[in-house]
Amino acid sequence: MKVHVDMALCESHGQCVFAAPDVFAFDDEEEEELVYEPSPGPGRRAAVEQAVLSCPVRAVALDGGAG
């Protein structure tokens, strides 16, 4: 499973972090940049799908598709 976040779109809403905290996180507290695990294990699919659905700017994509 491949995850991609379009960082040009991301506005740090953090909804993906709520949905899948072990895949998405805010890296450096000072800069608040989103970091993520690009190849999470298959057990994380449901959580990542939820992240795709809950991102208000539709920045999260799964397996290259728009979700």
Partner: protein
């Protein structure tokens, strides 16, 4: 599985689209019809008070993508005017009658109009809910100011921010003592007031608009402190009211007094007059009034929330309820965001329920805040400004607090 053979969704906005998508994802293969009174398919509203006004994004950028395989029949430009629950029939404004086995109510909310006194002038007075409203307001703003915004909630404050970004003179009026006070409390409200004033907004708090001046074209407004402000454009940002008039005679329980939304249980099943959840009718999004997360303490039984994330977070459990499927209780925590004056405001929970505000960080130089909201011994909400990284931990605590408690209905 004894699910419905056909489903009609009323309202082609975010909630209507997400409910439809969730129904298909849960294996619903029957006929799916979506009725919407706007000429457009689903689009997203948050950008309308932000980037669409400044011109950074176009209205078309707010289109919501329709998932492949949704296989819905769209009845756009059609309004539902009445519901016959016994006969399971829906009446549209062109006289069409649609039968259904399952019904999704997703009619959202409408901007409150000018309450008077007097009729508003024929031009120059705006509200903001839909795409046409945003385009009309943008056209008005590009002709120049001054702009008067009535109501300093999130919407009014965001529009004031957009207008300042366009370098228009802006007056922002609110009866409360601080902007957004109801939603974020007085501590954060005071900080926001300072930011708005520093950005050049003429902020008039503890003040109401007692009259709009001008017969044909707007000339200005009269305020309760006796002053007069000139305005070429007025935005009324007085809150929203759920679009539920068409359900008035349906026998569903409308949450009069607090919001006007359709009262429902935690899974979104609409409550009948007897207070029992209907198995064939669910409600999602701004039209819904789900159970109050903290019952007791004199709080109302149901609460209209009106945040983007509500429609998104509850879509799956609402779809499961309509299909008669079991669904692990999704325990949602409302969340809200607002972007204004360079501030990234993010909140979780329901700060408006708090009786105490705990400021955990406030760095005015870097415009950062982290605030926790408590009610008695419990955390009920949190808010950050340019500090989203701190929010997830609060959300987790709120989730635990709330869901230890049993919620009736």
């Amino acid at each position: 599985m004894n699910g419905p053979g056909s489903v009609v969704v009323v309202g082609a906005g975010l909630a209507g689209l997400r409910a439809s998508t969730a129904l298909r994802e849960r294996g619903f293969t029957g006929g799916l019809t979506v009725v919407g009174d706007e000429p457009h398919g689903p689009y997203d509203r948050p950008g309308l008070s932000k980037d669409v006004l400044t011109g950074r994004r176009t209205a078309a950028d707010t289109d919501l993508p329709i998932p492949a395989g949704l296989d819905a029949r769209w009845r756009l430009g059609r309004r539902a005017v009445a519901l016959d629950r016994v006969g399971r029939r829906l009446l549209l404004d062109d006289g069409t009658v649609l039968g259904y086995d399952g019904l999704v109510i997703a009619t959202g909310a409408a901007a409150r109009p000018w309450p008077g006194p007097g009729a508003p002038p024929g031009s120059g007075v705006h509200t903001l809910r839909g795409r046409e409203d945003a385009l009309a307001l943008r056209r008005a703003l590009t002709k120049g100011g001054p702009l008067l915004v009535v109501g300093a909630g999130f919407l009014g404050s965001e529009v004031a921010s957009a207008a300042r970004a366009l370098e228009l003179p802006v007056t922002l009026v609110d009866a409360a003592r601080r902007p957004m006070e109801r939603a974020v409390g007085s501590v954060v409200g005071s900080v926001l007031a300072d930011v708005q004033k520093a950005a050049g907004v003429d902020l008039r708090l503890g003040t109401t608009v007692t009259g709009l001046l001008g017969r044909q074209a707007l000339e200005g407004a009269l305020l309760s402190d006796g002053t007069r402000v000139a305005a070429r454009t007025v935005l009324l940002a007085l809150g929203a009211r759920p679009n539920t008039e068409w359900l008035r005679d349906s026998g569903l329980r409308l949450n009069e007094g607090t919001s006007g939304g359709v009262s429902c249980d935690r899974r979104g099943r609409a409550l009948g007059a007897d207070g029992r959840p209907a198995p064939d009718t669910v409600v999602l999004g701004d039209a819904a009034a789900p159970p109050h997360p903290l019952p007791g303490d004199g709080s109302p039984a149901h609460l209209g929330i009106g945040h983007w994330s509500e429609a998104v977070d509850r879509a799956d459990s609402v779809a499961a309820a309509l299909l008669g499927q079991e669904c692990p209780a999704h325990e949602t925590v409302p969340s809200f965001w607002s972007d204004q004056f360079g501030l990234r405001i993010r909140s979780v929970g329901l700060p408006q329920l708090a009786d105490r505000t705990e400021v955990r960080e406030h760095d005015p130089v870097r415009s950062r805040m982290e605030v926790a909201y408590h009610r008695g011994p419990r955390i009920v909400g949190a808010l950050t400004v340019n500090r989203t990284s701190r929010l997830a931990a609060h959300r987790e605590r709120i989730k635990q607090e709330w869901h230890q408690r049993t919620i009736p209905v």
